[in-house]
Structure formats: C-alpha cells, structure tokens
Amino acid sequence: MLPIAASTYAPRIDLLFWLMVAISGAIILLVTTLLVWFSFKYRRGTKAKRGALMTRFTREVEITWTVATFFTFVFLFWWGASVLVATVPIPRHAMEIHVVAKQWMWKVEHPDGQREIDALHLPLGVPIKLVMTSQDVIHSFFVPAFRVKQDVLPGRYTELNFTPDKVGTFPLYCAEYCGTDHSRMTGGVVVMTPGAYARWSQAQPQGDSLADRGKRLFTQLGCAGCHVNSETVDAPDLFGIYGKPQPMTGGGFKLADESYLRDSIMLPKQDVVAGYAPIMPSYQGVASEEDVVELIAYLKQSGGSTSR
C-alpha cells in the first residue's frame, strides 16, 4: 500500500505507520466486537442477566481505560517525536540545491549551474538540502517516495533535508493548493548512481555555475558600484560575510545567512549594518528570485570583493 521507501528515514516512518495501524486496528476491533457482541447478547427480549452495576465498579473501569488510553497516546507521541528529532539535524556536507516554485512549475538550480524545470536529478546516497522559495503563492514540495513534504513560502527560504537511497524515478507533487493548475504542477525526481549523475551533469548545456552567473550579476545590477572600494559611496565590504554575525544599527547581531542576505537585497532598509546609512535602493522587482539565488551563491563563494 505505501509507496516504495526511497529515502534513508522512510523505513522509520513506515515502521511508525504500521505501529499506529496495529494499535488503531486493535482499538477498532475491540470497540466493534464489543458493540456487536453487546447488541447481539443484550437485544430486547433475550434472557441475559441484567441489573445495575455498582458505581464503584463503573468508576474503576472508567479510571483504568482513561489512564490506559492516556499512556498509550503519550507513548505514540514520544515515538513520533523521537522519529522527528532524528530527522532534524542536517548533515554538514549536504548538497545544496535551490528550488524556486512558481505558479504551476518547479524551477531547480544545482550548485554547479544545471537548471531543470519540473525535474530533479540526484546522486544516490548523497544527503540533499533543498533551499526553497516561492515567487507567488504557497506551494508544497511533496515526494511520497521519500516521505517528505515541505511548504514553499514566498518571501522566505524553507529547507528540506533527505538522503535518497534507491535508484529510480519518483513522482513529485505540489501538495498545497496554489490555483488553477495546482494539479499540473507535478514532476519527477530521478535518483541516479553517482557515476550516472556525473555523466548527466556533464551532458547538461555547459552554463556557468551559479557563482559565476552571480559574479556577472554583481556588476550588472550595480552592486559592485558601491560595495567594491568606491570613493563616493560608503557601503559595507561583502568579502566573506556569509555565515558571520553582523552588528546591526540599534544594537544586536544578525547571522548573515541566506535569509538575511536575501532580505538585505530585497528590502535593504530593513536590517542595516552598524555604522552605515540606509541608502541602498531596494531590488524588489529588479532582481528576480533566481538572480538573488545566484548573487548569494556568488557572495558565499568568492566573498564579493574582486579588488583584494
């Protein structure tokens, strides 16, 4: 019944699923047999033994099944929570793939430049970290075979971590209603052996990598004008800021992760670095989501300062 388990923690989820089926089945069986048996045994006109039950007896029965149900459910909660907690820590060397959801298609960008629409090629056994955002409404990246689902929100990055461990093509759906062609926003996730994946990525049109495209955009959109040792404008140097906390005007620090860099590009007057004036123009509508993804890839890789 369940689709094939194609990610490392799918078996754990299937185990929890069958445990829940077993416990629910037992309770349903218990209730239905009692219903049918009592209905049959105590139907009107039969000579079965009746008479009132002592209130002490009914109270004890009540308390036992209340406590029994409570502990069963808390046990199920604990088991589910432990499976969840096992999936939270992200393996450090995960392969980061950017996914941009747009009304009714999935646009995927691999770190070394390959671009795909409604398809995602993955090497077997490599932990994957999908960094996803949406250009318009809420979508949801759902691959039943990996047992993963994560809503993709506009204006924010959401992450999805899994490790495929079976070769094959698995269906990809959009699970959050997103408009007219919500049911057409599907695709395929192709898991290949590392060799096949390497051959596939070579065969892709040799577009330059995300970082290279980011470098070109860095000058094209005028970022270099201020951020690279300009005499006229006082702008923070972006060399190697990714992953380091930045001092904010008005005190406090903010970690310069993808979300912070994205917000600073789209709405710069938001969190201004200490000691600088909020003069940077907003790139909302100028830079698309893909451009922002490329700029951030560039900032992460080369640190954004060509002069040094």
Binding site: G250, L267, K269, Q270, D271
Partner: protein
C-alpha cells in the same frame, strides 16, 4: 436594595433574574469582542516582534496630540455614560437624559477629531500603498494595523452612538423602568472605551521621542 420595577420580557418571572441574565448575555458578547480585537492585537504583536525597528519608525509618525485628546474625550464620555446609567436606575430622569446627551456629544467629538487626524495622515502619505512614505516593511505593517484598528473601532463607536441614542427615544415616564436597557447600553459603551484605552499606547506611545 429593592430593584425598581422593570418591564418583564417573555420567559422571565422576576426582574432580578432577567437583569442578571441580560448582563450575563452582554458580558458574553463582550468576551467575543475581546477575542475579536485579540486577533487584531495578535497581528500587532507579531508584526512588532518581527520588525521592531521599522515598526517604530512608522509609529513615530502617529500624531500624539490627536491621540491623547481623543483618549480624554472618550474617557469623559465613559464618565457621563456611567452617571447617566446610575441616574436612570435612581429615577433622576433629567440628569439621566442630560448625561446621555453629553455622551452622544463626546462620542461625536471623538469621531470629528478622528476625521481631522485621518485627513492629516492622508496628507502625510501614511496610507500603505504605492504613495506610502516609507519603504520599510515594519512601517507599512504599523500603518496597516493603524488603519484597520481605528476604522473598526470607529464603526463600533458609531454603532454605540446608535444604541446610546435609543435611550433618548424612551419617554420620560417609563425611562426608570428601562434601567436594564440603560445598563446594557452603558456596558457596550464602556467596552468601546476600553478598546480605545488599550489601542492608545499601542498606536501613539511607540518609540517616543
């Protein structure tokens, strides 16, 4: 303390039960209003929490003088309503009618002052949208809350004026008998005042000076 006689509605046998039931019903309605405005204040708390710097920049634009004046006007109208309600219960009809008229006048003053404040806000381009003064997210959120909350409150106040003016249409003779209606009207008016009293610090005292 013997209650003055009151008009008995259908299912009730004694005025005391009817009056307690009516107040209980109105207080339940006020609980729904607390949740209604609770949802609105949740929006305020979330947007202030996510972007407090920008929020304060937007909030400084709110005019403190209009706000304080309006708060004073509304609290005074609460006073006149309270006196009017107590006077109706004591049977002091002229004082009661005077106080009800004073409450209506103060309520109208609040709306007029609000109108002037809206006009100056619009002139200062404080309506979130294409012509909005700031590009900062927090500021747009503050002013989205400002317009929604104050307009919803103004609607509640206008409905309150309608309910309070109903007391004036009761003839002088049977006004004392309708003291339960007066209590209900006063409860609603005091709620409108409480909502504004909570709104005042949220709108006007953020990030001063």
């Amino acid at each position: 303390m013997t209650q003055p006689p009151a008009i008995l509605n259908e299912p009730w046998r004694t005025p005391e039960r009817q009056q307690v039931a009516m107040q209980f019903g109105i207080w339940l309605f006020l609980a729904t209003e607390a949740l209604f405005f609770g949802g609105l204040f949740l929006f305020y708390a979330v947007s202030r929490f996510t972007d407090s710097a920008g929020f304060e920049i937007g909030a400084r634009e709110a005019d403190i003088w209009f706000g304080t004046a309006n708060t004073a006007v509304l609290m005074t109208s609460s006073l006149t309503m309270a006196i009017g309600e107590r006077a109706t219960k004591e049977g002091l009809v002229p004082l009661a009618r005077l106080m009800v008229m004073a409450t209506l006048a103060l309520g109208a003053t609040f709306l007029v002052v609000k109108g002037f404040e809206y006009r100056s806000d619009i002139e200062k381009h404080l309506v979130p949208g294409p012509a909005f003064k700031y590009a900062i997210r927090g500021a747009a959120q503050f002013w989205a809350f400002y317009w929604t909350a104050t307009v919803v409150h103004a609607i509640h106040l206008t409905v309150g004026l309608g309910i309070v003016s109903r007391l004036l249409f009761i003839s002088k003779e049977d006004l004392p008998e309708r003291w339960t209606t007066a209590i209900g009207t006063a409860l609603y008016w005091h709620l409108v005042d409480i909502v504004w009293v909570i709104l005042y610090p949220l709108l006007y005292l953020v990030g001063r000076p």
